[in-house]
Structures are given as structure tokens and as C-alpha cells.
Symmetry: C2
Subunit: 249 residues, 2 copies
Amino acid sequence: MPRYRITLEYDGGGFVGWQRQITGMSVQQALEEAILKLSGDTVRVWGAGRTDSGVHALAQVAHFDLAAPQPLKAIKDALNFHVRPHPVAVIHAVEAKPGFDARFSAIQRTYRYRILNRSAPAILDRGKVWFVRHPLDVAPMQEAASRLVGHHDFSSFRAIKCQANSPERTMDVLRVSQHGDEIWIEAEARSFLHNQIRIITGTLARVGDGAWTPDDVSAALAARHRAAAGPTAPPDGLYLTSVGYPDDA
Amino acid sequence: MPRYRITLEYDGGGFVGWQRQITGMSVQQALEEAILKLSGDTVRVWGAGRTDSGVHALAQVAHFDLAAPQPLKAIKDALNFHVRPHPVAVIHAVEAKPGFDARFSAIQRTYRYRILNRSAPAILDRGKVWFVRHPLDVAPMQEAASRLVGHHDFSSFRAIKCQANSPERTMDVLRVSQHGDEIWIEAEARSFLHNQIRIITGTLARVGDGAWTPDDVSAALAARHRAAAGPTAPPDGLYLTSVGYPDDA
């Protein structure tokens, strides 16, 4: 039974999120329906990151099994043809190595959060950035971000409904940088808690506008309960940008 | 009677173009209606570039006169408030210098054309790029572009309906460059003919896919009639990126 590994771009605004929901179209369902049209197989597609509604992907990774092998080019082009009404595309398709699992084999996930920081609202990037009107100061945001790097109990920075067994995670990278009128927050870890980056972003924005100091962020981390951190930033600005696996070069 | 100079970002997909049309909403009309709500003045807004339907702007420049002065911040914020249902925003507003005219004072216009060159269709940039599926070779496109730099009769590269008195223009810059899976064509001139950049782009794409050589582009230029050049590329990939004036630093 051949297994395929696909890399996906999608516009999260067009979906209820990665995972199947009865409330609307998910990325997972759109792909599974396209595969059914392509091969006649009723399959389950497994993704590396279960992104929430509104969260985008530049390079989500997923896998699925087919009953019979198909040429890779056919898989990519036919999937893109059948999935077309929905804002998702297969950027890349390869045959998966034995034992490959998009979710459980992943050893690194990278996300980018884009804040549009100017007085005029987003136009060309409407729905693709978080529009913050008041000026944010990047330097204290960078200092505050550095307090969250490393192995910590991130209970303050996870959604109440987060189902992970442990609130502990290792943040390998948390970088804040200015790009014209945008501020990017880039995070890299083996895995993340539910809403972790959006809560971190909402908290760092408080530091950027001067309401909080970097020490307040350290205190929020130490408090280990959700109410101690800042608000959850909207999904619009968040992108899953890459997923790493041990066998990749 | 105070005159204001505004810098605008807009999503051309939401308009019939810059100029008022009876067929739908133009950028000009959206702004004029917002100014009426702001000040009670029925004004005409004049733009530096009369972009076609679907063509975007990162920094269009326009001017208008008000009966009585208004604070600049009020102009920007109130215009953005009133214009909100439409995908256009005022990025910057200043009082214009005496004699300033957004269209006739301009001495330089810069456009960027974005081609998405990969096998998977555009998702996050749908409507914001021209999706070209077959691989384009940038090097011959660069060579062909160099043939169009300088002062020429661009009759082959203007729309049949172009109303400019002269087909002669001076192309100061025409640059082709690769940015990940995008190819950008950047053009700079005092002014352009109708559809000039889109016809140049359609022609350079023919060179990129090997159908034409750079010499064919030189021959098309020399022929001086529209049928000699390539097709008109779609508006989706085109952005007005800047307008220059003699008094600007």
C-alpha cells in the first residue's frame, strides 16, 4: 500500500481549520474528497500541524495511503485539479519513506506571525496579517521573546481547551523582526501547544505598546495559568512555514 | 483652497480600475464618495496612474482640493473609515505644495509585475500574481528586456485603444529577477502607454518559455504595430509601486 507525502499551501480563511468538523469545510476534508475523485479510495489524510480556522500554511506536510500506486505528477496535478474550488494546493508530492508519518515523525515545526503595524488598515494582505494600529516598539518585544526561549512549562501560553498531556515544551527559536511596516514573530519548536504562538503574539504586542515590560512576561510564564498571559492574537497573521523530519537533508 | 496629496494602497480586483466608469466602482469614485462624507465637498480626485481593472497599487499618488482645511490625521483616518467597504486605504496624507498635480507633476512611475512560476496554482496570492505553469528561463528574458530599455517607438507594445498622442516613451529601467518561485518584471519610466507593461510581460513570457528569442523581441519593437508583440498578460500580477516628483527628496 503506497504512502505519499505532500506539501501544502492553503489560505486558512477558507476553512474551519485543518481537522474535519461538522461545522464546515476543513483542509483535511477537501483533500480527502479530492483523493476520492482521483483514485476512488476513501482515505484519511494526516497533517503535521492541526492548524486552527483562519491559520494559513506555506508548507504544511501531510501523508495518505492509496490502494494502488499512482505517478507522482498525476497525484499532484490531479489533486490540484479536483481540490480547486477550495483555497489549497499541493506544492510538492513524493513517495514517503517506509514508516513515515507526517505528524509523529516530525521533529521541528516553524511558524511565522505577521503583524501589520501602521495606521492604515490592511488592503492587499487583508485576512493575511494582524492589523495593529498603535505603534509597537520591537526592541522590548525581542527582549521579552528571549525570556520564552528554552524548555519551560507554558501553561500560561496555551488555550484552556488544549488537550496536550504536558504543558512543557522546548522553544528552540523565538525571533521578533521588523520588515517594512510589518513585525514578524518566528517560532521554531519540536511541537507547540494549542494557541501557543497566538497567545505569545498577543502578549508580545502588549510589550510592544508599552503596557507590559519583559519582566511582566517572565512573571506570566512563571505563573503557569492562562489568565496570567496576554490575549490570543487573531488567526489571520499566522502561517505554518515548515515542518522538519529526521531524514530530510 | 487647500490641496492634499495622498498615497494609496488598493486591491485592483475590487474595482473597475482607477477611473470612474458607469459599469462599476472605481478607486476614484470610492475616494470621492468618502471625501463627500468626510467634508461635505463634492470633489474630483486625480491620480498619477490610471490603472486598469484588476491592477493593484502599493503607492498610487493622488490629489484633491477641499473648501476648508482639515487636519492631516483627520483626513487620513476619516477617509480610511468612510472608504472601508472598498479595498483601498490612504497610507499617507500631506498638504500638497503649491502647483502640485499628482498626474502632471509626476516625473517617474514604477511598476512591478509578479509571475508565479510553478506547477501548483496560486493560493495565498490568488488574484495577486499571474500563474504560469510551464517553467520560464529568466536569463533570456533579461536579455530580451534589455532590448526595450531606452527611447523607442513602443507602438507594438501599446493597446489598440491607447489614446496617447505619441507612441514614443523612454524606458529607464526594465529588470527581470527571480524571487523564490516568482519572477518579477520591474519597469520605471516617466510615463507608460496603455497596457505597455502587460504586453511587455506577455512578450517576455514567450521568451522565457523558449517560443521566442531576444532577437524576436527586437524585431517586434522594430515592427511598430501591436500584432507584432506577444499577448497582454492579465492585470492580476501588476502593481503600481511608486510615483516620483521633482520636489521629493
